[in-house]
């Protein structure tokens, strides 16, 4: 496979996952703000800031974060980047995966053209989330489990891991004078952003509190959007890529394996004692290094 093609597949996976995650975070945040904006404006503001930090996007309106082509982190930019990457590799992906992504792009463009009404925004956000879910299904159902598949999936889980680390970190950050009601809002918000309401209730039926939510969102083995789960899957894909390219991987599999191992051999008490935010930051920078190795091993030309 051409290095350029592998690169494009990896980034197609990343941008789609990024768009899905950001769309869900914005949607969930908006839903929570509707409830509390009037009664508790301070918590509402804090929650909005937390969402922006978790997504590493500038302080802008939802319209701008959704539809602005000139804003590189906007959702429409993410979908456009995913599509541009797909367009470069149409000969190695199935036509169904391309058409699905292409349609998602045009639906978003059409919504943008129709103007920025509330209903348009909500519809577009949930549209992106479901387009990404469907895309996963189409890709799973139509793509060969070859090298290209591994790059797409690795991209997806690297992005998921990155997003999970950031969003858990903003929640773990201590806020002075936080009202108890605000605390609760924060942890519910995190669970909803991870699609984990039901899964969490099953794992921790007692209550929603800091320790339990952190434990779940970082260490749960079974739920597919936790930090550990994403790290273990990414490490597995990296390992399979290494096996498919003897002599090329320059330790990519090892770098991803180390991240997974750090999560395997610790627990929430230990991490909280040493500082959860610090721990997640370290994971983030190790992930950056692993991605750099991936780049130099497979994509550099």
């Amino acid at each position: 496979m051409l290095s350029r093609v592998a690169d494009a597949l990896y980034w197609m996976g990343r941008y789609l996952e990024r768009a899905e995650h950001a769309a869900r975070v914005l949607e969930v945040t908006r839903a929570i703000l509707v409830d509390i904006a009037e009664v508790d404006p301070e918590t509402a503001r804090g929650q909005w800031q937390r969402a922006l930090t978790a997504l590493s996007v500038p302080d802008a309106t939802t319209e701008k974060l959704l539809f602005d082509h000139t804003e590189p982190t906007s959702l429409v930019s993410c979908i456009a980047h995913a599509r541009e990457n797909a367009r470069q590799v149409r000969e190695v992906i199935s036509s169904e995966t391309w058409e699905h992504l292409n349609q998602a792009y045009w639906s978003l463009e059409e919504a943008r053209g129709r103007g920025l009404h509330e209903s348009q925004i909500s519809q577009s956000l949930s549209g992106i989330v479901s387009a990404s879910f469907q895309w996963d299904g189409v890709a799973d159902g139509t793509m060969s489990r070859d090298e290209g598949w591994l790059f797409v999936k690795l991209g997806k889980f690297v992005e998921r891991l990155d997003g999970a680390c950031r969003i858990v970190a903003v929640c773990a950050e201590a806020t002075p004078r936080a009202a108890p009601s605000g605390e609760n809002v924060r942890w519910l918000w995190l669970l909803r952003c991870l699609c984990a309401m039901e899964a969490y209730r099953i794992a921790h039926p007692q209550r929603v509190d800091r320790k339990n939510v952190l434990d779940f969102s970082m260490f749960d083995r079974a739920f597919p959007r936790t930090v550990r789960y994403a790290a273990v899957v990414a490490a597995d894909f990296a390992k399979r890529l290494g096996e498919a390219h003897p002599g090329r991987s320059q330790g990519v599999d090892r770098a991803f394996g180390k991240i997974a191992a750090r999560l395997e051999y610790t627990d929430v008490d230990e991490v909280e004692a040493r500082g959860t935010v610090q721990f997640l930051k370290e994971l983030g920078s190790e992930l950056g290094e692993a991605s750099g190795l991936l780049q130099s091993s497979y994509f550099l030309r």
């Binding site: 051409l2 093609v5 000969e91 058409e99």
Partner: protein, 485 residues
């Protein structure tokens, strides 16, 4: 939809109607079907076609702002029909023509007999912008220079097919033929079934076979690649589609490198040897060492690997000399010279401005001729005398006098017209036809081609850059209306 309201132009050939006006036999079924449909039915099908084309990604990019806007090529859903008998002539004519063009290229870059015998003026050859002296004396694989040819045909007032120009460098458009067929099959399914339309699905396989034919003999399992300038090129969609149809890798110049005299592509497994390159970038950009030094699209050292036979290129560099508009008038002579046959398809009468007598005629008749720049395409650098202003004619007079080699002139031909969906009714619009010829072990013509249509009323220019659209072209397996035996 009322066909009675259709305005037949008695002075030009209409594809659907003959004098009377009567519907031509092969068009009766289509006319019947159209008259049964309401305008709303047709509009709905048109919308469906456009949506399918957009979702397939059959778009081109207009660079009006930094973002670049993607547009669907204007597609007209009314198919153009060609009977088996008409096609048989076109096919034989094209095969003959392309054989002669390849022999001409081999001769021009080899022994130059046709120049020495005074059939073609050597000055016209050497001054052609597509002539590449780097190709002189080189033996190209299997002696084939142009592997993929797109020849533009028009019908004159009497309905005869004439060759308007040959495109032997890197003709584009085949992807539109393939994709619009898929779309039309869905939009006019029943009609399509009834008509017995010859399939065009083989194009990808034929193209692949033609490319394999020139693979260096040393390669056991030759690797074919399609070399594209990249996704921001306006024809990128076509590059991607053809790569997919052939099952070959689409590469950009930056994916290639030349070491140890061979061409390689950079893969996740390391370097992989490349044997045949179907290149969709111009000669000038192929290799910065030999051609334009500022080119970022090609690959340094590619040409020397090609000269040594380590890699095959299709089409060969330098083929542009054969589709130069000042060489075109000689193609019938080439056919006689190399094949000892009479041309099956005729040329349009052409005056070469670098000949003093022709030049005099051109300058005296600017208002009735069509003036073309010899190395331009896409409908650019053109003057249609009958539709021009005095200022434009003066401008062309100056240009021709300053640089006669760069201009030719042809009588303005009333191009054949085809009913075309304009708003919610049918109107006659000028069409041409570009069939695609593939040269491998055999010379083959894909049954069909790109029918381009000038969507602006009264316009004679069908190029997409000038407001042109396209139609599907149905080559029929039979001759409707003709009694068998």
């Amino acid at each position: 939809m009322q066909l009675d309201a259709y305005d037949v132009d008695p002075a030009s050939h209409d594809e659907m109607f003959e004098a009377g006006p009567l519907v031509r036999p092969e068009y009766r079924e289509l006319a019947q079907r159209l008259s049964e449909m309401t305008s709303a039915d047709i509009e709905q099908r048109k919308r469906l076609a456009d949506l399918l084309l957009r979702n397939l990604g059959v778009t081109f990019t207009v660079y009006s702002d930094n973002a670049g806007i993607e547009k669907v090529f204007p597609f007209d859903p009314i198919p153009r029909l060609i009977t088996a008998r008409e096609w048989e002539t076109i096919e034989r004519g094209l095969v003959q023509r392309v054989q002669a063009l390849n022999l001409f290229l081999r001769d021009v870059y080899g022994e130059q007999k046709i120049l020495n015998d005074g059939v073609v003026d050597p000055a016209l050859v050497y001054e052609a912008s597509g002539f590449r002296r780097e190709m002189i004396g080189m033996l190209v694989p299997r002696g084939i220079y142009t592997h993929i040819v797109g020849t533009d045909l028009i019908r004159d007032e009497r309905g005869r097919f004439l060759v308007l120009e040959d495109n032997v460098r890197s003709p584009s458009g085949a992807s539109y033929v393939l994709e619009c067929r898929e779309v039309l099959k869905r939009v006019f399914r029943v009609l399509f079934e009834r008509y017995g339309v010859r399939p065009i699905d083989d194009y990808g396989d034929w193209l692949r076979e033609a490319l394999l034919h020139v693979a260096p003999r040393t390669a056991d399992e030759p690797t074919i690649v399609l070399l594209s300038p990249g996704m921001y090129n306006s024809a990128y969609f076509e590059h991607s589609l053809l790569a997919r149809r052939m099952g070959v890798t689409l590469v950009e110049g930056r994916d290639l490198c030349v070491t140890e005299g061979a061409v390689w592509m950079r893969t996740t497994q390391g370097l992989k040897r490349v044997d045949v390159i179907y290149r969709r970038i111009d000669d000038d950009y192929l290799d910065p060492v030999v051609f334009r030094p500022d080119s970022m699209l090609g690959c340094a050292g590619l040409f020397s690997a090609y000269r040594s036979g380590a890699v095959a290129l299709a089409n060969a560099p330098g083929t542009g000399v054969a589709d130069d508009k000042a060489i075109y008038p000689f193609v019938p002579d080439m056919i006689r010279y190399y094949l000892d046959e009479e041309p099956i398809l005729e040329n349009v009468r052409t005056y070469i401005a670098s000949r003093p007598s022709d030049r005099k005629y051109i300058l005296e008749n600017l208002d009735s001729l069509c003036i073309k720049q010899t190395d331009a395409s896409g409908g650019y650098g053109m003057l249609i005398g009958t539709q021009s202003t005095a200022e434009q004619r003066e401008e062309f007079r100056r240009r021709i006098e300053a640089n006669p080699r760069s201009y030719i002139a042809q009588p303005v031909i009333r191009l054949g017209r085809h009913p075309t969906l304009i708003d919610d009714k049918l109107e006659g619009r000028c069409v041409d036809l570009r069939p695609y010829v593939l040269v491998g072990e055999k010379v083959r013509v894909i049954p069909g081609g790109l029918t381009r249509v000038a969507l602006r009323r009264g316009s004679l220019v069908v190029n997409s850059s000038q407001g042109g659209g396209y139609k599907d072209t149905w080559v029929l397996a039979g001759n409707p209306g003709v009694e068998p035996g």
